[in-house]
């Protein structure tokens, strides 16, 4: 915990917030968890449904081995214990978008046990979130209530899609930390290629458990592991953006504080966040909670993994964001900040690394982080839609590095690349943008300028700053192609002697 704990003021003094998150991450896989049906997003309703997904009589689930591999990969990426023996259980409840009348999940024996990840707050400080477990389960279908006033429609495309539920310990202490945790988790999943992480498409959904307590209580909980030191928690279901996570927590914490301070008590319950009003409202109380009647799914054998197989996956894990960030700093000489920004996004990091190949890393980093991302953000594009390829960008950085063009001209070339594409070297060549380092040519321009502006020239001796005017004029006369260093040197010599 950083020195400044997030607190909310109340009539009875300060309050602290404690949170644990349950993240549902859709596993990247061609097929569903227990059936061969496809999983593409946005397909026409009920077109990606097998007999198993529709729970036809006599249908049986068969585990998708690729999904198991993805879960193990994720567990390893979360520095977590991989359980070589795990089991699928049935969670029983009735709902029209749950065809089997039960969800196959891992209740008692999850495939992945305890782990931890390091996250970064807005201010750059870091904190650790411990992972309680990761288990595999089936997604339900989708109920659509707004197509018809009298009916609910059900789309089973999502029914049976593989989810990883990743449960954190109650280690999250502020809205900022909650958002940072989800964001870091998403980054790791995307690096691993085990979840697309797109919250808008529902690939990543968060349930947030929120409770409030008085200062000191949390520390007692951490010392003893005794949950009674913490407040009663409410679970906010299905919050689907980082912004909403922050909003939901802020609202919910304040709601709980108000109730307690007015002499009430918090009921353990499940709540929904309404993104339109920014309010959470009760979905069902503990008394109304389902009795899910979990029991081992008799249609499936326990999942037994070979240690060799797990080790093989471990060996083939890609470099993860923390390692990448550290390498960018230690081997490439980037600042912590630049390295963090680049490593936080898998595609951005990959793009950068291609640009930086054989180039000055800092220069490459500046161009990617500033020029390129500035432009992408302005246009509302992501790096994967970027019209300028990493190879083009690398070419451009190379031209700056070997002084073929100045940084200023490079910006023009970047504009051309963005709008028209092409090979940066050829653009520079064809359009005559090459930097002029021929001192003779520069001298001639300068001599002419001094001759035309004798008073200005004389004033430089008293006001060296006035030399800037001459630099500008030279550049203007030479359409920006003059090597700025050469221009400075010659001007110094001629004006200051």
């Amino acid at each position: 915990m950083s020195a400044d704990t997030y607190t909310l003021p109340g009539a009875t003094g300060d309050w602290e917030v404690v949170m644990g998150l349950e993240i549902h991450a859709q596993v990247v896989s061609q097929a569903k968890l227990f059936s061969g049906a496809a999983t593409a997003f946005g397909a026409a309703p009920n077109t990606q449904v097998s007999l198993v997904d529709a729970a036809m009589p006599g249908m049986l689930p068969v585990i998708n081995e690729h999904v198991v591999e993805q879960a193990v990969k994720t567990g390893l990426g979360l520095n977590a214990q991989i359980n070589t023996w795990s089991r699928f259980d049935r969670k029983n409840y009735f709902y029209p978008d749950l065809p089997q009348g039960y969800q196959i999940s891992q209740f008692q024996f999850p495939i992945v046990g305890e782990g931890e990840i390091e996250c970064e707050r807005d201010d750059g400080s870091r904190f650790t979130v411990r992972i309680e477990r990761l288990h595999l389960e089936q997604d339900a279908g989708k109920s659509i209530h707004d197509l018809d006033p009298n009916s609910t429609y059900v789309d089973l495309n999502r029914s049976g899609v593989a989810l990883m539920e990743i449960v954190s310990k109650p280690d999250i202490r502020s809205p900022d930390e909650a958002s940072a945790y989800v964001s870091k988790l998403r980054t790791i999943l995307r690096y691993l290629g085990t979840c697309g992480g797109d919250m808008e498409k529902g690939q990543l959904r968060a349930d947030v458990n929120v409770s409030v307590c008085k200062p000191g209580a949390y520390e007692k909980f951490r010392e003893t592991g005794d949950f009674s030191h913490l407040g009663t928690r409410c679970e906010i279901k299905n919050v689907n953006s980082l912004r909403f996570i922050r909003q939901a927590i802020e609202y919910e914490a304040q709601r709980q504080i108000d109730i307690i301070e007015e002499g009430g008590k918090i009921d353990q319950e499940t709540r929904l966040f309404d993104a339109n009003t920014g309010v959470t409202r009760s979905m069902r109380s503990k008394e109304e909670a389902h009795d899910y009647r979990y029991f081992p799914d008799p249609d499936l054998l326990p999942l037994e993994l070979q240690q060799d197989w797990i080790d093989q996956i471990r060996v083939n894990l890609p470099e993860l964001p923390d390692a990448k960030r550290e390498r960018f700093v230690s081997e490439m000489g980037l600042s912590e900040y630049d390295a963090s920004v680049l490593a936080a996004d898998k595609d951005r990091a990959a793009y950068f690394e291609e640009v930086a190949e054989g180039r000055d890393a800092k220069l490459a980093s500046n161009w990617v982080n500033n020029e390129l991302y500035g432009r992408l953000n302005k246009e509302g594009l992501t790096i994967t839609d970027c019209p300028v390829s990493a190879a083009q960008m690398s070419g451009l950085v190379g031209l700056i590095e070997d002084k073929t063009i100045s940084g200023k001209i490079a910006k023009d070339v970047f504009e051309i690349l963005w709008a028209e594409g092409g090979d940066p070297a050829k653009i520079v060549e064809d359009r005559g943008l090459k930097q002029v380092t021929d001192t003779g040519a520069i001298e001639a321009v300068i001599d002419q300028l001094i001759a035309d502006n004798p008073d200005q020239a004389a004033s430089v001796k008293e006001k060296p700053k006035a030399m800037g005017w001459f630099v500008g004029q030279v550049m203007k006369a030479m359409q920006g192609k003059a090597n700025p260093q050469a221009v400075n040197e010659i001007l110094q010599k001629k004006l200051l002697g």
Binding site: L51, P57, G58, L60, P96, G101, V154, D291, R293, D299
Partner: protein, 494 residues
């Protein structure tokens, strides 16, 4: 001259030879079988669906293969199929109103395998609703009537259950074999009641894919047949690894048919003392003793053994099976297929649909199952029952360290009168007392007709062997059959 209906009295083995010798065509045989089934239907009520176009098409294809001298193990043989098996395009309703009229677009693995070996579909057979029952009285189409009647009596008897329709169809010579499913004795008890051979292999030997689930960890598809060898042919054709069923055994299927008739000399046969239950009719005991004597005479060594946890098997079974059933039957909610009865709201629709769709026994078991899985009861019931199950498995392991096969009665009585136990669920559940253990342990077991009781009703003996050792089961079964010389048939009254 032999008539076509005499042909139906042949064993599967014998009719197969006639088909291969082209003494009869598959088409003629199928036509005759359908005719016989339909003629018997008003009296026996054993069938739930026919599809004569399908039957004829399959028979014609079989004839074409036979004409070329080709054909599988069951080429051209008409079989009846328990209504629990999905048969593509044919009503598959598990004898339940909730699935009435449901026509699957898929074929169960077991029936696919049978058709792949050349068998011809004749009819779907009635059963206790969702295989829950021991008398075939819970079928939505009413009880099946046993072709057997007590000597001098005219009372309608149960063929047993849940696979009563299949048992009756085979016993009445309406087909040459039938499929059943055995969750707690649903093949072996009806076989015993109808003088037929009923088999379940090792759990996982036959695929459950496409079979409407009752209790997944206990459901064993298996055959009914007229002889032990016929049943071996049937199980041979039905068995084999199915990647669509995660609990299907990957093991190679041994030659069951070859095992029939092999010597049993030197085999050790266990006789478990716990199967002598209070109130068991002396005639059952006598039949059992006869079986022991036959096997001794055939050169077997008889060994008294103990299966100490047997008395806990029935209660454990009636926890585990309803627990799984309560979850397996949740999918029948009227939302996607089957019959829906609308209500004022979602829960009302669920209640109306399931209230109207499921019969009382099914509702009872769903409630028992829901109860034993509920928070606060799970440990006391479900978990404890699973522990009992482990002990029962251990009992068998220990026994099979000493013996090669176990001999017991198949059922505690001969066929009883329809209606005589239908108001007493406990009395009904006791029918499974000798059979549930093999389901809980997943070991192979079969019922072989051993003789008739004093009222002329058939009694069966059960042979149980270690997991994966169906061959010894068939060896012992064939030896019993040979010694029993059971050639009795129900006198035709239908």
């Amino acid at each position: 001259m032999r008539t076509m209906s005499d042909l139906l009295k042949l064993s599967l083995t014998d009719v197969s030879a006639k088909l291969k010798a082209k003494e009869v065509s598959a088409s003629e045989l199928a036509t005759e079988a359908v005719k016989a089934c339909k003629a018997a239907q008003p009296a026996l009520n054993a069938f739930t669906a026919f599809d004569e176009d399908k039957t004829q098409a399959m028979a014609k294809a079989a004839d074409a293969r036979l004409a070329k001298g080709e054909g599988g193990l069951l080429e051209g043989v008409p079989l009846a199929i328990k209504d629990l098996f999905a048969v593509e395009g044919v009503d598959t309703s598990a004898s339940s109103n909730i699935l009435k009229g449901f026509k699957p677009t898929y074929e169960s693995t077991v029936t696919s395998k049978l058709w792949g070996k050349g068998a011809v579909f004749v009819a779907k057979t009635s059963m206790d609703e969702f295989a829950m029952g021991s008398s075939n009285e819970t079928a939505n189409t009413g009880p099946v009537v046993n072709p057997w009647k007590a000597a001098g009596g005219n009372e309608s008897l149960t063929p047993g259950g849940s696979s009563g329709g299949s048992a009756a169809a085979v016993a009445a010579d309406l087909c040459f074999g039938a499929t059943g499913t055995d969750t707690g004795g649903s093949i072996r008890q009806p076989a015993s009641f109808t003088g037929t051979v009923g088999v379940k292999g090792t759990y996982g030997r036959t695929s459950r894919w496409g079979v409407v689930a009752f209790a997944s960890s206990l459901d064993h598809p298996g055959p009914f047949a007229k002889t032990v060898k016929d049943s071996a042919m049937m199980l041979q054709a039905m068995s084999g690894h199915d990647p669509k069923d995660s609990t299907s055994l990957p093991n190679e299927v041994p030659d069951f048919v070859a095992a029939c008739g092999q010597s049993v000399k030197g085999l050790k046969i266990g006789v478990p003392k716990e199967y002598r239950v209070d109130g068991m009719p002396a005639e059952i005991d006598d039949a059992w003793q006869k079986g022991i004597d036959w096997l001794k005479a055939a050169g077997c060594e008889i060994v008294d053994i103990s299966l100490p946890h047997t008395k806990y098997a029935l209660p454990a079974y009636y926890i585990v099976a309803p627990a799984e059933a309560s979850s397996n039957l949740a999918r029948y909610d009227g939302m996607r297929y089957g019959n829906r009865v609308d209500g004022p709201d979602l829960n009302g629709t669920y209640e109306n649909t399931r209230g109207a769709g499921f019969g009382h026994e099914v509702q009872r078991r769903i409630m028992i199952g829901t109860y034993v899985l509920s928070a606060g009861y799970y440990d006391a019931y479900y978990l404890r029952a699973q522990k009992v199950r482990t002990r029962i498995l251990q009992d068998f392991h220990d026994a099979f360290d000493k013996v090669d096969a176990i001999l017991t009665p198949s059922a505690p009585s001969a066929a009883f009168a329809l209606g005589s136990k239908s108001d007493d669920p406990i009395a009904m559940y006791l029918n499974d007392v000798f059979t549930v253990t093999a389901n809980l342990a997943g070991v192979p077991a079969m019922s072989v007709p051993a003789g008739l009781d004093s009222s002329g009703l058939p009694l069966g003996l059960q042979v149980i062997t270690r997991a994966l050792d169906e061959e010894t089961m068939f060896k012992v079964g064939a030896a019993l059959e040979d010694s029993a010389g059971f050639t009795h048939k129900a006198a035709k009254w239908w």
